[in-house]
Symmetry: C2
Subunit: 623 residues, 2 copies
């Protein structure tokens, strides 16, 4: 990796920062956050502006360029990568270290008195604008919105915003029509006494209309906004994709509909002016509902007194609770995914000892097996295929510079998943293709105990996921071990592999209570820097639990694993398991054998079936 | 209980609400919160203004009186009591029910346009003022501070503010001199770049000066404020108690001291004017540190730009971590407390079958046995002595109207504690003096499993207590049971039995991380409305834990029970315990037998000793 030379680019940026063509008054600093106008986790190439200006392309980072300085804030995962990818024009601000200033403090320390700091109001969320603006103002500076993105003005070969065809999903996948979703949304709006709802997150637009896209890698979404009124629906979207007859029929664009279900298709870029028009026409007590995370530009389009902001939108909450069709789809997707992984692990077992399989080859092979399955669309995230010390890098993905060969002497960790038309998968298995050491087995078994503790937990209806996080750590804690990430995240249904508003993490307090139909991951781990990484991840469905009693009639919940891939018994120290844990593993493996075995049989994959049978032999615990 | 007749009082209050003697302009509503000027949990009688005006004397409630209405907001614990204690002049606002308006919404709905709402600025915390004031302003009303408390103007027989003698604590109790505490506080102030620190919580003043008082029942504190500068100390306190030679010597009031340790004693009532003088004399960048919870009056004395507000003060955090002398004191106090309880339970065992022991008699007997112990000062809270259905009322204390006779047919729950000069205790035991049913034993055993799960938990240094809360519930959850309160609270050292900033509760997220030397309670329970209550509570000390490994060199923590009172084995269904849990109970009882047995022996309490020996027989678990 050689750093990107940015001298010329920074010169150009500093010129436009003073150009009356783009700014009313010269600005003394320009902020380039990661992130697009929808606060997406994954970016389209045209939105990777921070990577363009700096060379640093990690998933998290904020660049700030002043007349004299260029500085990049990023977290511990990316210190090394950022240092390699950026040239000497840049100062790396290592977040989390004691002496690293915040962006606000740094700006105050370097700016001349009464400076203006610019930012694209479409990229910065309203809540971040608020705190940044307050801090700057109290030091005598101003945060100002710069309408045209200044990076775009100097990015001559900027890729076009993707505008790929849409995939309409019929009722057999979604369970609920978009009309019914609009009706439900309007009823939530009526409850809160709001007249308008602005949909800004891409997965919320996709979910609402039962449409999918491929504008962004891994997330089957498309660039669009929606504004839903009590009697109108406006969909802001570009390109000729709305000419597709299947899409037109799906959205009933050419039918005679009741006016309140008529979708008005408008250009993507007209959202701001349309919203401003809505804002200007409001009477007292008429409110517009927006997410807390919507961009400053859209939030400002609505006068403050008319805004109704919430952390989670009603779509986010409805989307998290999967209906029967979605749940069945997720089950099917996970069965296919398990077939692909049985094939992969059977193949790896034969090939790894030859010394020819690298992390990249293994990842590609996993994708190949997945792509053979029905309704496969794409991967759901960049495959983490890591062996030995690479396994300890929690957000690792193999690149040629780091690519390591799998061997019979090292632990292999594979965290991967796919998008199928019927569901989204995300599974981690940790395998040894030789003989694991007693210590490796010990650590693996603690992680397994944590995984089982969450998966088998019974808890009252309405419990928030963060209250389950410690169950995953208890066995590790007993021995002085731990892992530095959350235990689980929400998973979309043929949508984003990471979705809110539920999850299992000690870091959050604002998660929504778990309820039946929600789907989360259960993925404790243990990482030993420089030697190995262990993680065991299933996607699990929240289901009602039968209990002996029923306090206050609240009802109880538990989890059903959707992921059905054997957990390598070779890595388990059975003596460390309780009988209950041992029974859990055996009945899990029994289910893998039955369900995945039948599908392998049906697909005629006999070698993988034999592998599955062998890997699901019951554990024997000596009493 | 007959309601208090408040017609005349309300008439008088409404008169003073318009009297130019007290208000610049007439006010249309007056808020009477619970609470004193220090945000204390327990009130002196002179501060029970809300009880005086309404008759309702529960621990939580806010009264608002307008020209036409009088309304009382309280929570589910007190719906019945408030309804009984208040006459028809009052409307009960049942908080937590869907149709109950907030105080702000109610005020807006009943007030004429442009009203003024008054409140005593010393009683309302600054953060509550802020939100209330904002809500009223946005509806066109004003929240105004009324200097003189209007209840006091009509409360002709208002008791005097207590002004009892002070108890100086020497180094053998406190471990650190008040001078060293001042030095440590100033170093924290220097770290945060503040010049002044205002101590408003009574237990913080008491802790800082190693003094105790008895102005408030149960909490050994005294009415005072303190303002610490980098070179000055001002103590605001009334009465001739500063004439006591022991106090003068303790505070070195008559010694020649370096000026920065010279304590300037000033009248309690002069805090506001002194603080205003401090505020007026500040130069830019000079800050004054106050708690978020300090009163609006004191917070306003400091211009906004000069305020430095935090949720927890440095004194609150330092006070929570007990030093070796305090820990030793707490151990001694708990040994004495256990002696008293062994005597009590031995006595109850003999007396209950006679049918002559009521809840009140049992509570009095507990106090009698405690008062026989060295350095006993008073109880640390109102004893919860409850049998049968009364046990299910979580905040029950027996009064003649509810007083029930203990019997061999009902579960008895005793939650009690005391203040000794060397420490504060708080212990709950649940006993059966006949034969418990299988169901009662089952529930008790789940609660015990939860108690042990927390007490024996090992967790990384820096873990927040709320992450341990689910451990206490897991066994109950497995059977569909739960309890609707937190699992533990911080405990002071001869100070408040409930103290921040640590605890074990699902309800909070802002607790400070646990560290060695902190002391909390571990008190899961189970309550069956109308039939029984179960709770098992020990006070436990956070101590370092030895673990096999040590991830990232963080170190681990666990708990050591300070409470050493047998847990009734008759109530335990041994078959429901794991071997590990069984071992925990046996080794806990072994320690009770050794430590408390030796003290009973020393005190010549042979009958109680025989009771202890019998009650600490090891459980036998059939493998």
């Amino acid at each position: 990796m050689s750093p990107k030379i940015t001298t010329e680019l920074l010169k150009q940026l500093r010129q436009v920062m003073k150009s009356p063509k783009y700014v009313q008054e010269p600005i003394q600093a320009y902020i380039v956050p990661s992130g697009d106008a929808h606060q997406s986790e994954y970016m389209a190439p045209c939105d990777c502006r921070r990577a363009f200006i700096s060379g640093f392309d990690g998933s998290a980072g904020t660049a700030i360029v002043t007349e004299q300085h260029a500085a990049m804030w990023t977290d511990g995962r990316y210190f090394l990568q950022a240092a390699h990818q950026m040239d000497n024009n840049w100062t790396l601000m290592r977040m989390g270290l004691k002496d690293t200033p915040t962006q606000e403090d740094w700006l105050v320390s370097v700016l001349p008195e009464g400076s203006k700091v610019g930012v694209d109001p479409f990229i910065i969320p309203a809540d971040q604008w608020k705190s940044m603006s307050k801090a700057l103002r109290s030091a005598g500076h101003d945060l100002v919105p710069v309408k045209e993105n200044l990076i775009d003005t100097i990015w001559t070969d900027c890729p076009q915003r993707p505008c790929k065809p849409l995939i309409p999903l019929d009722l057999s996948y979604t369970g609920v029509s978009w009309r019914d979703k609009i009706v439900a949304l309007r009823s939530k709006m009526a409850e809160r006494k709001v007249l308008w709802f602005v949909v800004t997150a891409l997965d919320e637009v996709a979910w609402l209309f039962n449409l999918r896209g491929s504008d962004v890698e891994y997330n089957p979404v498309f660039f669009a906004y929606t504004v839903v009124g009590m009697n109108t629906i406006r969909l802001f979207i570009d390109g000729d994709r709305m000419m597709d007859p299947a899409v037109r029929e799906h959205l009933q664009l050419d039918s005679t509909l009741e006016p309140e279900f008529k979708i008005h298709v408008m250009p993507y870029g007209s959202i701001l002016s349309e919203l401003q028009a809505v804002g200007a026409g409001l009477s007292p007590k008429e409110k517009v509902w927006l997410s807390d995370k919507a961009s400053y530009a859209l939030t400002e389009a609505i006068p403050k007194a008319y805004r109704y902001l919430t952390l989670y939108t009603p779509i986010c909450i409805a989307k998290a609770v999967k209906n029967a069709s979605e749940t069945e789809g997720m089950r099917r997707a996970h069965i296919k995914d398990a077939v692909a992984l049985c094939e992969l692990f059977n193949w790896l077992e034969k090939e790894v000892p030859k010394g020819t399989v690298t992390e990249i080859i293994a990842a590609d092979k996993a994708e190949e097996f997945r792509s053979q399955q029905k309704d496969f669309v794409e991967l759901s995230f960049a495959t983490i295929s890591s062996t030995g010390p690479n396994g300890a890098i929690i957000h690792y993905t193999p690149v040629p510079e780091t690519n390591r060969t799998l061997s019979v002497n090292e632990i292999y960790l594979l965290d991967s998943g796919a998008q199928y038309k019927d569901g989204t998968t995300d599974v981690t298995r940790t395998m040894h293709f030789g003989t694991p050491s007693a210590y490796e087995k010990e650590c693996f078994t603690y992680v397994l105990k944590g995984h089982v503790a969450v998966s088998a937990a019974i808890f009252p209806n309405g419990t928030k996921g963060h209250l389950l996080d410690s169950f995953a750590r208890s066995a590790l804690w007993d021995c002085g071990l731990d892992y530095l990430h959350g235990t689980g995240h929400g998973v979309g249904s043929f949508l984003n592999v990471h979705e809110g508003p539920c999850g299992i993490s000690y870091k959050t307090f604002a998660d929504e209570p778990l309820e039946a139909g929600m789907i989360v991951s259960d993925e404790p781990g243990y990482y030993e820097d420089g030697s190995f990484g262990i993680r065991i991840e299933n996607v699990v469905l929240v289901i009602p639990a039968e209990t002996k009693y029923n306090f206050k009639n609240r009802g109880s919940l538990t989890f059903e694993p959707l992921t059905l891939v054997p957990i390598q018994t070779k890595m388990i120290d059975v003596n460390l398991l309780t009988q209950k844990e041992c029974n859990w593993v055996n009945s899990y493996h029994q289910k893998c054998r039955e369900v995945i075995g039948a599908e392998l049989e049906r697909q005629g994959r006999h070698e993988a079936l034999r592998w599955l049978i062998r890997e699901t032999e019951p554990l024997l615990k000596v009493q």
